[in-house]
Symmetry: C2
């Protein structure tokens, strides 16, 4: 028996079902499903996407028997409809629609009224008693067929209409009378000839040309681009299906009409029916926007019966599909037909509300609710977002001037400033956007004061990006199109010059940069339904969620957002404060261990207080503290003036300061004297930091009875001997203090796994470590050999040329970096079965990466505070998917 | 039965043998072996090193039964010698010596004359009829025992001698008479008291204290340091053995004497007996150098019989040990005793000659000959070396002013210059040493002109190091102690200032930097015995040996040295020549693909000629050509003046040049826009290079019938999609040219594996690659996260603190980087069984790394021309060791 390629549906019976989306496409599958549910759907059939697959695998030919199968189905269609294809007295007209398993703009969409010819058009006129309607349908079909199936430019058809309207002195298409329409049909036919095409007068020919066109459109540029942009890998879908459905007409007069409907409000999620209806119109008229549609109440005026039936169908569909539906329908002479149903697109707010409501209504499970809300939805609810209409408006006005990397989500509008100092001053009084070539730790206060940050250089894990995400502040980085001239107080984009004080709006979720002001919606925070949903996620997920926080403020925010501990507390950020940096610099300028210890002694009480205030926020939870990591040169001023000041402050010569700066210069600081390498050269730094950590814990316990689980983390370990060396310093220092205090303080010592060698030799390293925390930023840098600060120069090329499908700094590279993480886990656990495993790179807040990490089997992820709610949801979704074997 | 701990030897019979070095130490094992051979050895016994092992594992106690076993052996010793321990009438005296399996200065060495007491000394006097001899022996023993076994400072004993000599108005020790010696004994005893020690009058007590002292010395600081410095891992040896041997005396009068001998000339390797003899003396007198020893002919004068017997023994030992021996002997009243034999230390020249001669004599196999010569020996024969005496002299004169990294072996002496330009001028007329903070490609001509290169910064794989090794030129790099001031034309080391024109000598094999001139020996090259030996190595080894060569000159040198192809031809080095760099810069400054192609078109004929001349040298052999690798900024001038000139040359503004330079600036160029990333952004570069390679091969084949096996290598691949992209460009370009030419040219396309991700995903990458070449420099950088240019700042700390035992840029890190190489090999071969595998990093010329690579099972190593002979030997040694399961 040959394979079945065509699936029929009519009158309550269908060969297909909603489960067959893969071969019938979303549209075809749901038409079949609705038919089986007894919902009125015009009869028709769907040609399987397997044909599309065959078509491309066999040099654009069809499988044997397809032709016969289509003809057989057409015959059946004629039988159930009582009409005949090409029959002038009672012609069968059909729509031909494409439809893949995933909704995909970019392919050929729809041809309506197929089957009309010079002969059948008059039959239609007679049948309907409406000649104008028939000729209007005909000319629309010729136009659509020429444009969509044969590639004759749309504008050329419009020109013919214009010519007639001009001749007749009328303005609207609807003002054209039958004769005009007949003339138009002739003009269109002449246009076909001029274009070297022929309008087929044989409906079967029309049908096959249309089917060819649908399959052909699967690989057209727009469709291929769309799949690339939406990360739908070629080969993951079979192709498009083709649905051939008998026509129903909403434009047959005042007892006809067409509309779209939502079973709930797609904007708020409230349980109220929502939709639009246009009397005496076809679907395309709704889209064209010539007339303003009414609400669904309009349908009631046409037919109360149809109105009640529609709402009945809403209930049936929701119960059946167990999700909010978005439907298209047509009423032909008072009779309701459903033309499409699908899961409704919805706003973030609606997604959350619908999911929670449906659980409460007993319609779906908590797991299903968790799967219905996307991480992006949560993200949107936590950050200000530009009002969509306002943004569209700005784009129409050509105010979209550049696009950078979307580094930290949200929307910001403010006046441009170019220095952190000015940002700090002005930011108190008015909204500002800080624009910098790149940011450095010195810009911190300015970043705090700004609404948003825009940089010309740097990637998703550059300083600006990391810090902004930590603050939950909108940032666009690596916007290479802008050329910042700080001295002149301006930046250029092409020929456009934007000056200090000009208004600028940036969208950190898309990377868009706009001139002028755009209105935004304030974030909702975690309350009500979102809180409920995330609590469900917490019940489901296996991964722990910690946060990356360096300040009590961040710690508090993260805890409020549901963090279960701190997975990464970067101690060096504490060194940049104005009251500390002098001592840090004094330490760096030291020539002897004694001098260094003296300077460190000044830092000790301050660092201890830092830890106390963080520990207090994190009461009873684990806090992972990373010892100093960045190369020392980052703490020194780079400009001459500041260096002269430093010389004065330290009482040394300017030349000596220059000497220190130059001696600390490195060709590749990322691979230089940093991380545990610093502590090995200067053990006294680890001694001071350990003292500060342990003393903080002791004092808090004694004074306030606050307990935390302290985890001391040694960064950049590649050799077990490095960890052993630093661990000895830590345990010696800590154990002495603890013994002296008489208080029982427990602490762990572990390491970041961020150097490939650490992953490869994890069995050795685990013998000295209580925990591993994967620093996937650096691990990605070194595994790929991509500097995160420089990769902007070529990563775009890579994404555009399809060499990479995603930015590995955003989504963890499962095959390369992920494979090293897995190796490290397996080797590490082989020598230390109790090893605690987490990830603290920027990937910790990325849903796809969370899935990868969950699959590998780590214990927790740690991410910036504003990613915590997202991570909670993503982790639960990962658990559900893994349980389902997906 | 309890374990055996003590091994007896006497009169032709021994319980031990030479094979038991592991437990008897070198000395004890060879004494036993010689005894069994019937060679006259004073009787004695050896306490096993297993006792030492036990001693440290059981808090400094001895195994049960040891005491009894020692006493039993002592009794036997008394029996065979007919003397008795502590017997005043015929006292047994013994020497107590330490000895581990590996010769190890730093431990306690020897105590002579043990068994002398106030009572036995007079017995000895009577027996020998020589009271002065007896008391001299006694006072020497007390002194040695106090110093070595009880830790009383040597100088305090010397002070007592001085006091007596002063009192008596004499100068030499030998002028002391019996009374003086008796007084000295009393003074020594008083010294013991003052030090709170007791000189034991019981010989058994003396013996056990001496044994304790030997075992105790195994873990003293000097011994531990020695093992660390010589890379003898703790735990690899059991410890030291203790040999107790009856005393014989070379100082019993004119028919006695002592000497050392070599069975061949240790300096030239010639087959002539060589040694020194001192009449009427003990071994320590030879060392003390008070009298000048005679040649071995001196022994003939003492006893012709002993003389003949000694030479007989030489023959027996050589035949038995099948190696040149170094012996110690004593003649006591005309009777010869052998006290030690061991493999003789020898010069590089001698090592090669002895090995080859012994094969010709039928004494050893070719495999054994190959194992007898070290890679260092070969290295020494290929480079000028400072004459050892002259260097010692320079050190005594405090002319050793600094130490850097030994980057390229050899010795150089010349006048200091600080710029490559001046080096180029002056280098024609006089020897010069180029001193730079670091070198860059712009310094190339200056480096060629210099005798040697000294840099203040950079590691073993820095530009200076790599280029110098390629030229076989002496270089010391990363000499952080020197502070170069190019403008002032001087460098500082501490307070010392060295000015342009001052003489400097540098040793590239040790990293030493000397003020002034030191004489050196010229290299011998590969001729005669060395050529024979290396041909044997070639017969044995499994690894292929290729070379890293970028010029016809290097290719010729390497081929002369035995290279079997080029494993790495770096094309970018060809871009720096004065006739090319303008076109390269023009290409970089291009704003459109067309401009870029125009500039590349200028490079094409030059690059083609480069390849032709290299291919010609490498006729019939494979040549692996790497496409452009370094970031483009390396080709641009960094100084303003040169940038202004460039602007003029290119006809663009100076600002534009600055803009280009700044746009190419990278924070971490090592991880930046380089390697295949460049070719992906600018495919036209790969097109030009492929054209040049393939056209060169076509023309050579057509014009000269010269064939080569072209292997085109894509650098820095981390993703199979990268390789696929660039490979498409290469094959498309190449196949078109080949087809057009009508000539049959075969070429391979492969990749460097130097990014950790490439190793981890090698199964994917191998599907697109004909070969892998491991770029272990970069692979080491990224696997460790160590920048080779910056690691100087901490690598020394790491080596000193024992965190690393070797510099991973010198010797391939077997556990980390090696493990990735193994993974890549296994994964690569799993999808492409014919994959060719080689290594082209600097490790290719390092013997330990060659061993690692051979063990992993790669096909070849590639190294700089001057390392080729070393690699040939090391590869053969590796094969032999692997066959032996070592």
């Amino acid at each position: 028996m040959s394979k079945k390629y065509v699936y029929f549906f009519a009158k309550g019976k269908a060969e297909g079902s909603a489960k067959m989306k893969h071969i019938l496409g979303g549209k075809g599958a749901n038409l079949a499903e609705m038919t089986s549910l007894g919902i009125p759907v015009p009869p028709g059939f769907t040609i399987s996407a397997e044909v599309c697959d065959y078509y491309y695998k066999h040099s654009n030919t069809y499988p044997e028997g397809l032709k016969e199968e289509v003809e057989k189905n057409l015959k059946e269609l004629e039988e159930v409809s009582g009409k005949k294809f090409g029959d002038p007295s009672n012609p069968l007209l059909v729509s031909v629609r494409s439809g893949a398993a995933v909704s995909m703009p970019g392919m050929m969409d729809t041809i309506l009224n197929l089957g009309l010819t010079d002969e059948t058009v008059s039959g239609l006129a007679k049948l309907t008693g409406n000649e104008r309607f028939a000729y209007d349908a005909y000319r629309r079909f010729i136009q659509m067929f020429g444009d969509v199936a044969l590639g004759i430019e749309h504008a050329k058809f419009e020109k013919e209409i214009e010519a007639i309207k001009e001749k007749r002195g009328i303005k609207l298409d609807t003002e054209m009378d039958v004769d005009d329409l007949k003339e138009l049909v002739e003009r269109y036919k002449a246009l076909y000839k001029r274009e070297g095409k022929e309008f087929p007068q044989d409906p079967m020919k029309q049908l096959w040309i249309a089917i060819d066109a649908v399959f052909g459109s699967w690989m057209n540029k727009r469709a291929v681009d769309y799949r690339r942009l939406n990360k739908i890998p070629e080969g993951s879908l079979l192709g498009t299906a083709v649905s051939v459905v008998s026509m129903v007409f909403g434009n047959m007069g005042d007892s006809s009409g067409t509309g779209v409907g939502f079973t709930r409000d797609p904007s708020t999620g409230e349980k109220r029916r929502y939709g639009e209806f246009l009397r005496n119109a076809q679907g395309e008229d709704v889209v064209a926007g010539i007339r303003t549609p009414e609400s669904l109440e309009g349908l009631k005026k046409v037919s109360e019966e149809a109105y009640n039936e529609l709402f009945n169908i809403f209930d049936v569909l929701e119960k059946h599909y167990r999700d909010m539906q978005d439907v298209e329908f047509t009423v032909e002479n008072g009779k309701l037909y459903m033309l499409q149903t699908r899961s409704a697109k919805r706003t973030a707010r609606a997604a959350v509300k619908v999911a929670v409501d449906m659980v409460n209504e007993g319609l779906i499970t908590k797991e299903e609710a968790v799967m219905r809300v996307t991480p992006d939805h949560v993200d949107q609810l936590l950050h200000p977002m530009f009002i969509l209409e306002e943004k569209k408006h700005a784009i129409e006005e050509n105010r979209l001037i550049a696009k950078g990397l979307p580094a930290s989500p949200g929307a910001a509008t403010g006046k441009v400033v170019f220095s952190a100092k000015i940002a700090e001053e002005r930011g108190k009084d008015e909204p500002i956007v800080l624009v910098r070539p790149e940011t450095s730790p010195e810009d911190l206060a300015g970043m705090v004061a700004a609404q948003g940050i825009l940089t010309a250089r740097g990637g998703r894990t550059s300083h600006a990006a990391v810090v902004a995400r930590g603050m939950g502040k909108c940032a666009v980085v690596g916007c290479e199109a802008i050329d910042v001239d700080e001295e002149k107080g301006q930046f250029k984009v092409g020929d456009l010059i934007v000056k200090e004080g000009d208004w600028l709006s940036i969208d950190g979720s898309t990377g868009e940069v706009f001139l002028g002001n755009i209105k935004a919606i304030k974030p909702e925070g975690i309350e009500g339904d979102l809180a409920t949903l995330l609590n469900w996620a917490d019940e489901i997920r296996k991964l722990g969620i910690r946060t990356n926080a360096d300040t009590p403020h961040d710690a508090r925010t993260a805890r409020k957002f549901g963090a279960e501990g701190i997975g990464l507390c970067r101690t060096e950020h504490m060194f940049f404060d104005n009251d500390r940096i002098p001592a840090v610099r004094e330490m760096i300028a030291s020539e002897t261990t004694e001098q260094r210890e003296k300077a460190l002694a000044k830092l000790l009480p301050m660092q201890k207080e830092d830890f106390k205030s963080i520990f207090r926020e994190m009461k009873d939870l684990p806090v992972t503290i990373r010892l100093i990591d960045p190369p020392l040169h980052e703490f020194l001023p780079q400009e001459e003036e500041a260096q002269r000041q430093l010389a004065k402050d330290l009482g040394i010569s300017f030349e000596r300061v220059q000497e220190i700066v130059s001696s600390l210069h490195e060709f590749n600081p990322m691979l230089g004297h940093r991380g545990c390498r610093l502590t090995i050269t200067y053990p006294e730094i680890a001694v001071m930091q350990t003292k500060a950590i342990i003393l903080a814990a002791i004092e808090l316990k004694k004074e306030e009875n606050v307990e935390v689980i302290v985890e001391i983390m040694v960064p950049l370990v590649g050799l077990v001997s490095e960890l052993k060396y630093v661990k000895n310093i830590i345990t010696k220092t800590a154990d002495e203090l603890i013994k002296k205090s008489g208080v029982d303080i427990k602490y762990l010592v572990g390491t970041m796994i961020e150097v490939p060698r650490a992953a490869v030799t994890a069995d050795q390293i685990a013998t000295e470590a209580d925990f591993f925390s994967f620093g996937t930023n650096d691990l990605t840098q070194m595994t790929f050999g991509f500097s995160r600060d420089d990769s902007g120069k070529f990563l775009n090329d890579y994404l555009e040329k399809g060499i990479l499908s995603v930015d590995p700094f955003k989504t963890l590279d499962k095959e390369g970096v992920g494979s090293l993480v897995r190796t490290a886990k397996e080797k590490g656990r082989s020598t230390n079965p109790h090893l605690e495993l987490g990830i603290c790179g920027e990937h910790g807040g990325d849903p796809d990466s969370i899935r990868t990490v969950d699959e590998i089997g780590l214990d927790y992820v740690s991410c910036s505070p504003y990613r915590v709610p997202i991570a909670r949801l993503a982790a639960a979704q990962s658990t559900i998917q893994l349980k389902q074997g997906k």
